[in-house]
């Protein structure tokens, strides 16, 4: 509970600064600080349990099907990070109160800030990896909002966009990586993943999973070659840089390295990928930092370099390396956050961060200068400060590895070189800003010390640097021990936090770094001149060009595929379907199955031959539309016969009546369309289509043959056995429709009604020109309602209705039912329209077809609801046998009522469709098509 509250508090606290903003900045900052403070107290409450080595895990099931649970975990590592996030976060909240000016939307700033804080706490306290990933993405998003806080500035917008693109892309890779890890382990819970290190490393997918996870880590922690976003993110307000881009968010990547260390490390892949990336980043960061003239730019590259150092330590793949890495995470967070705050104070007081102009600040702000100098020295790794201790451990570790074979010495040499540059840029920070003559042309002059409370956060952090540096055993030791033991799952190596280890090689490396750094700094004028001569790489420009290139390429691809021709899309789609199915069917070794083939008889051969020939002829004659339509109706009738032949009388009846309605529909439509199709397909396109069509046909034929000749097992017996006792009818097909699968049928008649209403809507207000001549120029017959047809159809109507009623009533026990009866009624009624015209028929058939279709769906639905009244589930049917004098015994089932609903819907919908197409003709009044 406490765990969930620690994460939830910052999120809940977002409202406080927004509400308190109206009472001024102090109240606003106070409101912002309340929630993190409470969370910090809660976290410290757990201290003893965590330091005792306990892993506190709470689980709340959320989406168990996806393996996503709301499970949280607090161990030493999470505790350490939680402490950094909340502790430094509170200091930055205090600092930001004085950093932001009165005009700025302080409430919004703190709102974003708390959003980020909650997300970051979520990352470090999640037990479920998917949950962690969700918070991970949230940190990217809130970082975007914070970098872009000054959205009116171009650099802020560009920096925010770049950071989001890079870290968001990395987040996607991480998602894929974590899904793979979850797939390998079978669980997304950290406890399971950490225990499955060997399974993961021995799995074939391990390299892929590792690379994907590392992509997430490297983008987030600004490792080469993804480091470029961090300097651009310096467009953020300095409190944001101090918190997100030095102490916390960029540490999320290395946090993940520490977190997954037992699961992923311990392989050559890990060593080469992580250590070489770290080494490159370390060197490039340290080198570039020296040449930045922007104060924050220097700090940004220095951060990149230190993150590289931490990554390298993890990559060395020794337990002591991990200890040093975690120790350096703590130390870097303290000294770098304080340095950023100092840089912010200088920027705030002088109006610029250009080190070529900001000089001699010692005279104007000695207090700030002293604090910044101590922090810089910690960054340089000077003894008695915390940076020295972890750097010394780092040097010692670089000497221990032998993985590069005879080139093992390159790593310590490169590390020392990076140390040299690190001393040089630290010196530059001190000397250039606080000494080095007088300030040049400052926007604000003279600068002075900032507000008293603005310095308090810096003082606290610098004090920590000193305390840890001088008395590590009494300050940081238990915290470090708990974090290390959590990261390494108990395999804690022997290590010593002593300041003095005697005269050793690491000490020599430190001395070389210090002396070399001073030397390099004294030669800076030459170096700067040399650097100016180098070809400049503008990362923003390059990034823009890459993005533009991507957009251009995707646009080109898009135009290539999407040229506006539906025929082409369809051909592409069918081609893909063919390809997919063929690939899926390749493993099928034998086409025919084991079932003995059934014998062929002459009638079936004849029927099938007619079906095939009519289908083919429809294509041959397709440009003469009316002819093709007649041939097509022949195919439809043969389909009905096929159903009848293969023991499906219900289907045969349905197909027969639907065939009639469809033909009436198509003839009606054809009335408004040209009755010839122009020849316009090139022979190339014709061939392409023929190949595609042939492919599809062959595939269907093979598939059908393969399935039909294989044995099968069906659930039919259930329906056959239960039809009579359970549904009260012998016609199993009908009982399935109205009873077993009644809910499906309800859905289907609803679709039918909706389609009819849609058609009604489409036809509303549509007026099409009335053709007077056919293709050959012959006028249409003037005899609109031939007498014989009119007479016959009028006589047929009552007969048809009786047949329909008969079919309907017997449907439960013999072929028939609501669908078929509905279609027969519809055909009989539409015949009246055809033979006698719309006005005549409408006068005599005063039904609203909308109402009829609606009533049908209603009746069916209410029948279903009715069973609720008797305490049964939806659509439970009941039936009984009744005895009437004269009529004898008969059966009544609620399913019959349901079938009545089906009947009404079918009649209503069909007539709504056909009768409405009947009067869309343009022309003189009364000229109806029907």
């Amino acid at each position: 509970m406490a765990l969930a509250l620690i994460i939830a508090l910052p999120f809940l606290g977002i409202v406080l600064p927004l509400w308190l903003e109206r009472y001024g900045r102090s109240a606003c900052a106070f409101g912002a600080g309340l929630a993190p403070l409470a969370a910090l107290v809660l976290l410290l409450w757990q201290r003893e349990r965590v330091f005792a080595g306990e892993v506190i895990v709470v689980r709340q099931s959320w989406l168990p099907e996806l393996g996503l649970d709301l499970s949280l975990r607090l161990d030493g590592l999470g505790f350490l990070f939680g402490l950094l996030i909340l502790g430094i976060g509170l200091l930055v909240i205090l600092y930001a109160r004085y950093y932001l000016s009165k005009q700025e939307p302080t409430g919004r700033f703190y709102g974003y800030f708390l959003l980020f804080m909650g997300a970051m706490l979520g990352v470090v306290l999640s037990e479920n990896l998917l949950l962690m990933l969700m918070f991970w993405e949230l940190t990217s998003l809130s970082s975007f909002l914070l970098i872009g806080f000054w959205g009116y500035r171009t650099d802020a917008r560009q920096g925010a966009r770049m950071a989001l693109t890079v870290t968001g892309g990395g987040g996607l890779a991480l998602l894929a990586g974590i899904l793979l890890v979850g797939h390998i382990v079978g669980s997304f819970e950290l406890s399971a993943v950490l225990a499955a290190g060997d399974t993961i490393r021995n799995h074939a997918l391990y390299p892929l999973a590792l690379i994907l996870v590392l992509l997430g880590v490297f983008t987030k922690s600004a490792q080469f070659p993804f480091h470029f976003w961090l300097p651009q993110a310096m467009a953020a307000p300095t409190p944001v840089s101090a918190f997100l881009h030095s102490a916390t968010m960029v540490k999320a990547g290395v946090f993940l390295l520490a977190r997954l260390y037992p699961a992923l490390s311990g392989s050559e892949w890990w060593f080469y990928l992580v250590s070489l990336t770290g080494l490159t980043t370390l060197l490039i960061g340290a080198f570039m930092a020296l040449f930045q003239h922007d104060l924050k730019g220097l700090l940004a590259y220095s951060t990149i370099s230190h993150l590289g150092l931490i990554t390298l330590l993890f990559g060395l793949d020794s337990h002591l390396g991990a200890v040093a890495a975690i120790f350096h995470i703590i130390n870097h967070a303290t000294f770098k956050a304080s340095l950023f705050m100092a840089a912010g104070i200088i920027d705030h007081e002088t109006g610029t961060r250009d080190m070529r102009r900001v000089n001699g600040m010692w005279k104007y702000m000695p207090h700030t200068a002293a604090l910044a100098m101590v922090a810089s020295l910690a960054m340089a790794g000077v003894p008695l400060l915390n940076g020295f201790l972890s750097k010394e451990m780092f040097f010692a570790e670089t000497l221990e590895q032998h993985l590069l074979g005879s080139f093992y010495w390159t790593i310590p040499v490169a590390a020392t070189l990076a140390g040299v540059f690190s001393v040089a840029y630290s010196l530059r920070f001190i000397h250039d800003v606080f000494f080095n003559g007088d300030p040049i042309d400052l926007p604000k002059f003279p600068p002075h010390e900032p507000a008293r409370y603005m310095k308090i956060p810096v003082e606290i952090l610098v004090l920590l640097c000193l305390l840890v540096g001088m008395l590590p055993g009494y300050t940081v030791a238990p915290l470090l021990a708990a974090a290390v033991s959590a990261s390494l799952v108990g395999n804690v190596p022997e290590y010593s936090l002593a300041i003095w280890h005697g005269f050793s090689l690491p000490l020599l490396m430190s001395v070389v770094a210090l002396v070399g750094g001073i030397l390099i700094y004294s030669l800076r004028k030459f170096l700067f001149r040399w650097y100016e001569g180098l070809p400049a790489i503008d990362s923003l420009l390059t990034f823009d060009q890459v993005i533009k290139g991507v957009i251009l390429t995707s646009g080109r691809l898009n135009r290539l595929l999407e040229n506006g021709s539906l025929q082409r899309y369809l051909a592409l789609m069918l081609g893909s379907v063919l390809l997919t199915v063929v690939v899926a069917l390749v493993p099928l070794s034998e086409l025919g199955g084991s079932v003995p083939r059934s014998p062929v008889d002459a009638y079936t051969v004849l029927g099938m031959a007619i079906l095939a020939v009519t289908s083919a002829l429809t294509v041959v004659f397709h440009r003469r539309r009316i002819v093709a339509l007649m041939i097509l109706s022949g195919a439809g009738l043969m389909v009905a016969l096929a159903f009848a032949r293969f023991s499906a009388p219900d289907l045969a009846l349905t197909q027969l009546s639907v065939e009639m309605v469809t033909m009436i529909l198509l003839v009606l439509a054809l009335y408004f369309m040209p009755d010839r199709t122009p020849a316009e397909s090139s022979s190339l396109r014709g061939t392409r289509d023929l190949v595609l069509a042939g492919g599809c046909g062959t595939l269907v034929a093979l598939l059908a043959y393969a399935v039909l000749t294989r044995p099968y097992d069906s659930i039919a017996s259930f329906f056959l056995e239960n039809s009579l006792p359970g549904g009260g009818g012998t016609n199993v097909v009908n009982v399935i429709l109205v009873d077993f699968r009644g809910f499906d049928t309800l859905g289907e008649i609803s679709v039918l009604a909706i389609a009819a209403v849609g058609i009604f809507g489409l036809l509303h207000g549509l007026r099409l020109p009335h053709p007077t001549f056919d293709y050959f120029g012959r006028p249409w017959s003037g005899d609109r309602h031939p007498l014989i047809l009119a007479v016959v159809s009028r006589a047929l109507l009552p007969l048809a209705l009786v047949v329909s009623a008969f079919i309907f009533l017997r449907g439960h026990n013999l072929p028939g039912g609501g669908f078929i009866a509905g279609l027969i009624t519809a055909v009989a009624l539409i015949l009246q329209y055809v033979s006698l015209g719309v006005p005549w028929s409408q006068e005599r058939l005063p039904f609203s077809y909308h109402g009829m279709a609606g009533a049908g769906v209603m009746i069916a639905g209410l029948t279903g609801l009715g069973s609720w009244a008797f305490g049964y589930p939806f659509l439970t049917s009941s039936f009984g046998h009744f005895h009437l004098p004269l009529a004898g015994e008969f059966e009544l089932a609620t399913a019959m009522l349901f079938d009545l609903g089906v009947f009404l819907t079918v009649v209503g919908a069909t007539l709504m469709i056909l009768a409405n197409i009947g009067h869309v003709s343009k022309g003189e009044a009364g000229q109806e098509v029907l």
Binding site: A635, V639, F646, V658, P678, T730, V733, L762, L763, P815
Partner: protein, 109 residues
């Protein structure tokens, strides 16, 4: 029998797909109709082809599989609704843009 049935289905699908790829609405609708015939037959045949095995209890010694039949029955009716919708959509688009080309404009070349 199985081979005969399969070949017929293949011819129906070939004709249907070829018509589906034409440039004018009417052949497309005819193609759709042919394909839906074939698909209905295909789904129906998944319950296997049997003669003299009507699924009415007490009317024969063996019964065909009623489930695909029930599925196909509604499919036929819904298929009609779909065809009608397509046709009316085509009519409407003819009324709006004045052509029955599937792309809504006469080819330029």
């Amino acid at each position: 029998m199985e081979a005969l049935f399969a070949i017929t289905l293949g011819i129906m699908v070939t004709s249907g797909v070829y018509l589906l790829l034409r440039a004018r609405v009417f052949p497309v609708v005819m193609g759709l109709t042919l394909i839906s015939y074939a698909v209905n037959l295909f789904i129906f045949s998944m319950g296997r082809l049997a003669t003299g095995a009507v699924a009415v209890v007490g009317h024969s010694e063996r019964y065909g599989d009623p489930l695909p039949q029930a599925l196909v029955l509604t499919a036929i009716v819904i298929g009609f609704a779909m065809t009608a919708f397509t046709v009316v959509l085509a009519l409407r688009s003819m009324g709006e843009v004045g052509t029955d080309h599937v792309d809504g404009q006469e080819p330029t070349e």
